[in-house]
Symmetry: C2
Subunit: 317 residues, 2 copies
């Protein structure tokens, strides 16, 4: 095993590269704008040019085990980015894994952001040593990565682990996926803001949230107000957490995990969100699983989590 891996956090705006050691230290970092390179071949060439500088810093490519890419719609099986609407290379399959592998001469693996997050927790974070757990990422949407018997669940097509689209309310909120009541319409950052707007427009209870223009309320504002003891904000956290915990109680019926690990802005609220999650879980979990799964917060530094998660893929190469 070589001492380092490369992680690429490929976002719609920036492509962030890190060279990482087995103890989750990001030894060297660089980044490139994701857009403005023209064809994807040029993007890869420009990335490799930037990468070479930091690869030389750590002693050359021979020190590097491989590279992992965390990207929206990144498919582990095909090593392609598939139909990612927020990336600049059109609506097809982009064989980015193979392209980087050819350019760098090392193996490259790819998966989506939430799976990469789960791999990161398993390699360096809260899931170190765990064989069965579920990662839940709470961002603009709700993502998930499922690990069974120490292996990421990719499913028949590489697209397994979409727990944000499990429906938690019959005839619930409309979801971007075209269906109704998906978990992410309630428990994503967007969902929390939606809950806040619903409460503010249908009640006249006083709350700090009324100081913010209705269409500008964000999940973070709710967390902050809840932290100040605002009752309405606390009730939103409670509603969100309990619903998420109750959903996790159903998820447990799948792989009876030893832990659920939560990542994202919302969990920065600490016990304000984790307590309701635990309550929702405990009140709804099937007896044979009771008291077994821990509800944990990600142990990876937010700023580095995406690069670390991507890099974790490469330890298996």
């Amino acid at each position: 095993m070589k001492p380092y891996v490369i992680g690429l956090d490929l976002g719609g705006t920036n492509s962030v590269f890190g060279i990482v050691d087995a103890n989750a230290n990001v030894i060297a970092e660089t980044s490139v704008k994701t857009r403005g390179h023209g064809p994807v071949e040029q993007y890869v060439a420009d990335c490799v040019e930037a990468l070479k500088v930091i690869i030389d810093k750590v002693g050359g490519i021979d020190k590097i085990q491989g590279m992992g890419i965390g990207a929206p719609n990144g498919n582990y099986y095909t090593n392609c980015i598939e139909y990612a609407p927020n990336l600049p290379w059109g609506d097809g399959k982009i064989p980015l894994g193979q392209m980087f592998s050819d350019a760098l001469g090392i193996p490259v693996a790819m998966t989506n952001d939430a799976n990469a997050a789960a791999m990161g927790e398993m390699a360096y974070g809260a899931a170190k040593g765990m064989k069965n757990f579920i990662m839940i990422t709470l961002g603009t949407g709700v993502g998930s990565g499922i690990v069974c018997d120490g292996k990421m669940v990719y499913g028949s097509d590489g697209l397994a682990g979409e727990l944000g689209h499990v429906r938690v309310k019959a005839d619930g909120r409309e979801c971007g996926c075209g269906r109704k009541g998906c978990l992410e319409t309630y428990c994503s950052a967007t969902g929390v803001a939606r809950t806040a707007r619903e409460i503010l427009t249908t009640t006249d209870t006083p709350t700090l949230l009324r100081e913010i223009p209705l269409d500008q309320i964000e999940s973070k504002d709710v967390s902050i107000a809840a932290g100040k003891g605002d009752e309405v904000a606390k009730s939103i956290m409670d509603f969100t957490g309990r619903l998420l915990g109750s959903a996790c109680a159903d998820f447990a019926c799948f792989n009876s995990p030893e832990a659920f690990i939560f990542f994202g802005g919302l969990v920065k609220a600490g016990d304000l969100i984790m307590d309701p999650i635990r309550k929702g879980y405990d009140e709804n979990i099937l007896k044979c699983y009771k008291g077994k799964a821990k509800m944990l917060v990600s142990q990876l530094d937010d700023a580095k989590a995406a690069v670390l998660g991507a890099s974790a893929l490469a330890w298996e190469l």
Copy 2:
């Protein structure tokens, strides 16, 4: 690899043993009453005595790879039956796997009935060659066995795969598990009979089902009436199938299976139940999974399925 395995279908009444070859032929069979042996040690001794007769028939123990046990609350990790209320050996952990292994001198593995069914389909039936699928068994309850990347999902404690207890209706029917709205309260044989009784007591629509005393209606009666074109019975099949198909649409978010395989009395109704299952699935499946998973009926002969499923465990030993 030796030519045969032994399967034990351990039920509350009978313990059925079969010696099975790689082509799902049950070469020899014997059975023993599960009760009336006194302590479990005597049960094992009596089983082994009966087994020896059929083992000799196939050329002796050297021809046998191992033995698999399918049992209520059978735990793969501990090789024990854990807290099975319908078995005669009390409320603890019974190390039946080790006991049979010691007595026979071959490796023995154990799991619950639904997992054994999944293993059976994978070794001999509809899931042959599949790496990712979900088995749904529709009996008195609803059981499930989940296979990811060719491996049974046992979870952190051996108790994974309880999809019958995923809740499908908020504040739905009371379940034996103490919670409400579990899938099995609607889609088990018991659930179908419950639906029938609900309709018969809350409407006065004429139906063949009224010829049966209300408290004696079974799932099978509904299937038979539906087969004769009875509209009420057909509507019950439709309701049950659509609900099950819709639940499977959520299950797909876990491991994006290439198939769901259904087993049990209810699927004997053929298209009368499979069509609504497919409709419920297609109408509710997330776009990225659309058209991918097949909805299949078990290919194992009902009478032999449990023994075959148990035996399939032993090919891995």
